[in-house]
């Protein structure tokens, strides 16, 4: 029965740390997204034919873990069904971070556009009873680098 106290304390600590880090991450995401908004990343497969482009693969990859509190909450969600709200922010953050990293890679290449953007998601199973501990999200696309930029 003593384990319960231990779990409860862990839950409180992980809740505060997790919430703090999540807020910090969202702040950073929002400000970086504004900066990189000038570089469109779209899922269209056919590249624009208006001029000559160098085409290059760009990827952005991130692995994020949920905190103990959210994992615990997800177990409860699994029991009752319905929206697993505690994993929604995890996936939202991971997708946006991966896309941002991909865009950052594209902007380093002086690309004007990224086309054919796709996501790959992998749940990394950890711990007992194969509870989802963290997710890896890979965003990749084709960076269109205008040739006249290089001249």
């Amino acid at each position: 029965m003593y384990e319960l106290f231990f779990i409860f304390i862990l839950l409180i600590i992980s809740y505060f740390i997790g919430t703090h880090r999540e807020k910090k991450h969202y702040k950073s995401l929002i400000s970086r997204e504004k900066v990189l908004n000038s570089l469109p990343a779209i899922s269209v497969k056919t590249p624009p034919k208006d001029k000559a482009y160098n085409q290059q693969l760009v990827i952005g990859n991130v692995t994020i873990s949920v905190d103990y509190f959210k994992r615990f909450l997800a177990t409860l969600h699994n029991f009752f069904g319905g929206r697993v709200t505690s994993y929604e922010t995890l996936l939202d953050r991971a997708r946006r971070e991966a896309l941002l990293r991909m865009k950052e890679a594209a902007s380093l290449e002086k690309a004007s556009l990224v086309v054919n953007v796709k996501y790959e998601t992998v749940a990394i199973y950890t711990g007992r009873r194969r509870a989802i501990g963290s997710v890896e999200i890979l965003a990749y696309g084709t960076a269109m680098i205008p040739l006249d930029n290089e001249a």
Partner: protein
């Protein structure tokens, strides 16, 4: 550049459309409380029905379930056992234990401060606890309490409860650690509920009065038991202990004694002179 491809742009995504606005702590408590209620209710229903079903098992079958306990006693220890058996014999008469319910008492020579009743009518009395009791009346009270457990079929009911609850929980939570009848075998002390303990206390003090004509020794047993619990109380907070606290057991007995107008000041029966020798304390 942008004027040549105006149709490619990313809007700024509004915040919060992909996530829930519900406060996680609120959701957490809502779900946790419902979960605990469901589990508790399931456990309660399963426990009651399991206990009831197992109490329908005839005692003869229960004896078969519990194999013979290997007895390996020194001659002096056998004398102690014979003494305990004699006391149990008196208790059996006082409690009207039916003939088809043989009770076997076993003296366990180790310093554990415990005594318990288990399946098949077997009682185990450890030296550690016996050593604390200063007269025969208190020992009789202790034995009577354990005999009452057998009379009430508490060991098999408790086994049924545990079996039903652990099977149910395994199904509900998807865990499979059903090893109730594992290597520890049947000679382990089963957990009895608060109601079981309290009703055995009543039965025991009744038997005590029938045998000695007064209830002296009953309170003493609970006083001694409460001193034993000291270590446990530090490691376990009150509300987790399933065994009723000694105070409330003592309270119940005191009320009963006053109600029935029993004397608590009768002469106590001294222990046999050779009692300490029979204990065979090995240090």
């Amino acid at each position: 550049m942008t004027d040549k491809q105006p149709f490619y742009s990313n809007p700024l995504i509004p915040e919060g459309i992909n996530t829930s606005k519900a406060h996680p702590v609120k959701t957490f408590f809502k779900l946790l409380v419902s979960f605990i209620l469901i589990v508790a209710l399931t456990a309660w229903v399963l426990g009651k029905s399991g206990g009831y079903l197992f109490s329908l098992i005839p005692f003869e079958r229960e004896i078969e379930l519990a194999e013979l306990y290997p007895e390996d006693l020194e001659p002096e220890e056998s004398k102690m056992q014979a003494y305990l058996e004699k006391l149990v014999g008196k208790i059996e008469q006082a409690m009207d234990i039916p003939n088809n319910m043989p009770i076997h008492v076993h003296y366990v020579n180790d310093s554990t401060q415990n005594a318990f009743a288990t399946l098949g009518g077997h009682l185990f009395i450890h030296r550690g606890l016996l050593n604390k009791l200063s007269n025969e009346n208190t020992i009789t009270m202790l034995l009577a309490h354990e005999v009452a457990h057998v009379k009430h079929r508490d060991p098999i009911r408790s086994l049924g409860q545990e079996l039903a609850i652990s099977t149910g929980m395994a199904l509900l939570l998807g865990q499979s650690d059903i090893k109730l009848l594992g290597e520890a075998g049947l000679y382990t002390s089963l957990k009895f509920s608060r109601e079981m303990e309290l009703s055995c206390d009543k039965e025991a003090v009744n038997a005590l009065v029938k045998i000695y004509g007064h209830a002296n020794g009953a309170s003493e047993l609970f006083n001694i038991l409460s001193t034993l619990g000291d270590d446990e109380l530090i490691t376990k907070p009150d509300f987790f202990v399933t065994h009723p606290q000694e105070e409330s057991r003592l309270g119940q007995i005191s009320r009963l004694i006053t109600q029935k107008n029993w004397s608590e000041t009768g002469n106590t029966q001294a222990l046999p002179k050779a009692f300490r020798t029979w204990m065979m304390i090995k240090e």
